[in-house]
Amino acid sequence: MKEKQVRNFSIIAHIDHGKSTLADRLIQHSGLVNERQFRDQILDNMEIERERGITIKSQTVELSYTSRSGEEFRFNLIDTPGHADFSYEVSRALASCEGVLLLVDASQGVQAQTIANLYAAMEHDLVIIPVINKIDLPSADIDRVKVQIEHELGLDADQAILCSAKEGVGIEDVFEAIAGRIPAPSGDAGKNLAALIFDAHYDVFRGTIVSCRVFDGKIRPGDIIRLMFNGSVHKVEEVGVFHLNRDPGEELPAGWVGYVIAGIKTVADIKIGDTITLDSNPVSSPLPGFKDVKPVVFSSLYPISSDEYPSLVDALEKYKLNDAALAYQKDSSAALGQGFRCGFLGLLHLEIVQERLEREFDQSIIMTVPSVQYRFTLLDGNTVTVENPQYYPDPVIIKSSAEPFIKAMIISPERYMGAVMKLCLDRRGSSPKIAYPTPDRVEITFDMPLAEVVFDFYDRLKTVTQGYGSFDYELLDYRESDLVKLDILVNGERVDALSLIVHRDRAREWGVQACERLKEEIPRHNFKIAIQGAIGGKIISRSTISPFRKDVTAKCYGGDITRKRKLLEKQKKGKKRMKMVGSVMIPQSAFVSVLKARDE
């Protein structure tokens, strides 16, 4: 029997252009699942992903297809995460493909992220198949989109496939294009093993399930493999491909995408982008593009109630099994007790960790204001790295301070250029560069402090560009900066979890903002609450929450007592979800609010 041909591809698209729907339709069309098993957006299987409509953890699935000409294919669809925080993961997933489907919404047309994605695919020299989706919409304007594809993306619009993933129209054409236009993977099964790790999942029974693309050689159960990043050696227990569930096989030869189980305990033991080779017969150099991704955003995480600390320890350990990008270590705060200092890839990653801990592990947690890693040079010549405001050095011994800068890249329709420029300049952006990748679109590049984008920059950008802006960044270097520590006091008590290191010019604005935010978030109490922002001993902002005067109900006899108690029990439960600072109840939302909503 003739070997099935292999095609490895991804789908890339601007948000909401129908990536998940198309993936679902391809899966359904290939007969991998029957109608009853079919669940919309199969690949986005995490609850949060479904809700937010974004892919966080990439998934891979192998689809069978028999072409019109009778040839048999195995297609590996490698799903990619859809956010700048995970751009490295995206790059590794793309490195595992030979081609992509570039999805464009028939009514919205080419968008900023479409272009950003196109750039990424081009970087990997992938075959690009434009697919115009949602042609069933009344507002679909296929001709206009074709013109955009031709002029803005520089692709052959005649080659674009028309489809409606929702209605199942044109799916066959998509399959034919994958079979006909994406090249078969090159690679030699006879050479030494080189496989690229692009993802990993944790399984309670099997440990780490490594997703990889074999470039040369083959992997078989029983092989002794070596991870080139750290030289660790593992015995392969099982290899196979993904058919929604794992499907074990005899081998993974060159060109294939699949999984490897090799008794690797946690996902933290492997690195995305690392190369797998054979211990007995290694390749001389790893596959290109490996980066050891380090966390850039830091925040502390505390249980709402200190007796929930052991349960949080447990939850974090379990969570970490499946998220190698999360780094954490013990931390403690006077206001919040025992907790953890965590490092994240970005703010979205932070929010995802928070949400998943709450939903999947039933934790009630508070996260402190995110921080980046600052560097302080002291008078004695030593340099200290600080990512926790608690460890801000005594200002009198600081000689100079520095913070990480990034190159921020924003693609947006030209009409929002002014708003984007203002936003970036307000965030201490410098050295702007402007390019016109397409006639009515600008690419704006700024040097910016990372600290200025970790809070709500992306949200703001989406607001000022009405959703049409895309954002990506890369770390540049550390630059000297005048940094101070801003403390927040509630009724005279410093809430260390709300302290942050901030540029001096921005301190006042932050202090005022924080006081106002907290005033809105902290409910009125039956006593007065003073909120202050302070640098050192100097108060730079304040707000006051006046007490409520009266809440007593006049009567309390027979039936009133049960009613009153039930109300109190309910309130007491609510109080458990608050953090007590002195006797001020601070809702969890207050800690997050301080860093959001800098309305400009």
């Binding site: 009266k550 007593v552 039936g559 009153k564 108690r565």
Partner: protein, 386 residues
């Protein structure tokens, strides 16, 4: 302060205060008042059936409640019953249950239709305390509230009570509604003070979900006076009555001396057992609370069929008892004992905050709510629990 040293129970430690209380709910009224959500009906036709039912219900609990030292006949309007019916009720209660000597026996009365004869009957039946539903000494206000009596009738009723030798009379007053100015309220209070009653209850008008007032509020016909005025009225009332020698011993209750505090009502606030007979009446004993169906018809039907007319019941956990003790204690002048926290950890920080903000005082081992504390008595317990 009374008995702060010796009391362990949460309220003052007179031993008789631990004896059970008996309550009878008379669910009949001549008309419904605007603000009332108590269960009552206007037609007196069901009185005989209700009376029979109360007798059956009483017998159900004979073995479980041994001795009472308070009886409270409330409603509704108990004085809607005629003399024969009142006598029948009292006879059943006093013969069916044991009462400690010197028991407090209260009947709620409305000034309208109160004949000297009826009051004399009550006195002869052993009633030694009358709580008179005066509400206001202003006829305009009385009409607004939907009351059927005039202020003159209230004065007459009071005179009759005194002439019959009632030495413990309480007046119920209402304040804090739109059409009432502070000076009008002062006039009502002054008239009450002229009568020198042993007890005054001052209830701030509440918009109860079931009352007509609430419907009027929803319809936009009446408005609450707002927290600011409510606060002012409350503080003024407390100060004024204390200046005139009354003890502000619970949010809405004032007594001329510690002995004249309503013994029966205080049982509700300190987890002393009580038995409630009649529709919608609540009972409490040994950590269990139960309450009767609200409808007279269902109440009578259940009892006629030999069933207890209980709507539902709850058994309180220690934690629930604690939270209630805290909430109830902070509504009274006696406050709560610092020892009341079974967990053993004393709420040092909230206590300090509450003290600093003038909401409580600490006296020895007790936390005592101040006037300002009374005003926030609904949220005060929350500071100390959880």
């Amino acid at each position: 302060m009374v008995n702060t040293e010796n009391s362990k129970s949460g309220t003052a430690g007179q031993t008789e205060n631990r004896l059970s209380g008996l309550y009878v709910h008379v669910p009949f009224c001549r008309s419904k008042c605007l603000y009332c959500d108590f269960h009552s009906v206007v037609s007196p036709a069901a009185i005989p059936a209700w009376l029979d039912a109360v007798r059956i219900e009483g017998r159900l609990y004979k073995e479980r409640f041994h001795i009472f030292d308070s009886l409270y006949i409330g409603g509704g309007t108990p004085t809607v019953l005629d003399e024969r019916q009142l006598a029948a009720l009292m006879e059943f209660l006093t013969e069916g249950f044991a009462f400690h000597s010197g028991s407090e026996i209260t009947v709620e009365a409305n000034p309208e239709g109160l004949s000297r004869q009826k009051l004399k009957t009550l006195r002869d039946l052993g009633v030694n305390r009358v709580s008179l539903g005066v509400q206001s000494f202003d006829d305009g206000e009385l009409r607004y509230l939907g009351r059927r009596h005039s202020f003159k009738q209230a004065l007459e009723a009071f005179d009759i009570l005194r002439s019959l030798g009632f030495a413990n009379v309480g007046l119920d007053l209402i304040y804090g509604f739109e059409i009432q100015s502070l000076s009008a309220w002062k006039k009502t209070i002054d008239r009450a003070l002229e009568l020198d009653p042993e007890h005054i209850s001052c209830y701030q008008l509440t918009f109860e979900p079931g009352a007509s007032l609430m419907k009027m509020k929803t319809a936009g016909c009446v408005r609450p006076i707002g927290k600011k005025l409510e606060t002012a009225f409350f503080i003024w009332t407390s100060r004024y009555l204390e200046r005139h020698g009354y003890l502000h011993y619970e949010i809405s209750n004032f007594a001329r001396s510690p002995e004249l505090m309503c013994r029966h009502n205080r049982k509700y606030w300190s987890h002393v057992p009580y038995l409630g007979l009649g529709p919608s009446a609540h009972s409490f004993q040994a950590g269990r609370r139960w309450w009767n169906v609200r409808s007279i018809e269902r109440y009578c039907r259940l009892l006629a069929g030999g069933n207890a007319p209980v709507e539902d019941a709850e058994v309180l956990s220690e934690e629930q008892l604690d939270i209630e003790s805290l909430a109830l204690g902070l509504r009274t002048k006696e406050g709560v004992s610092l020892h009341a926290w079974r967990s053993g950890s004393r709420p040092a920080t909230p206590l300090e905050e509450a003290r600093k903000s003038g909401l409580v005082r600490v006296d020895g081992e007790r936390i005592l709510p101040t006037r300002k504390g009374f005003l926030v008595a609904d949220s005060l317990p929350l500071m100390f629990c959880g």
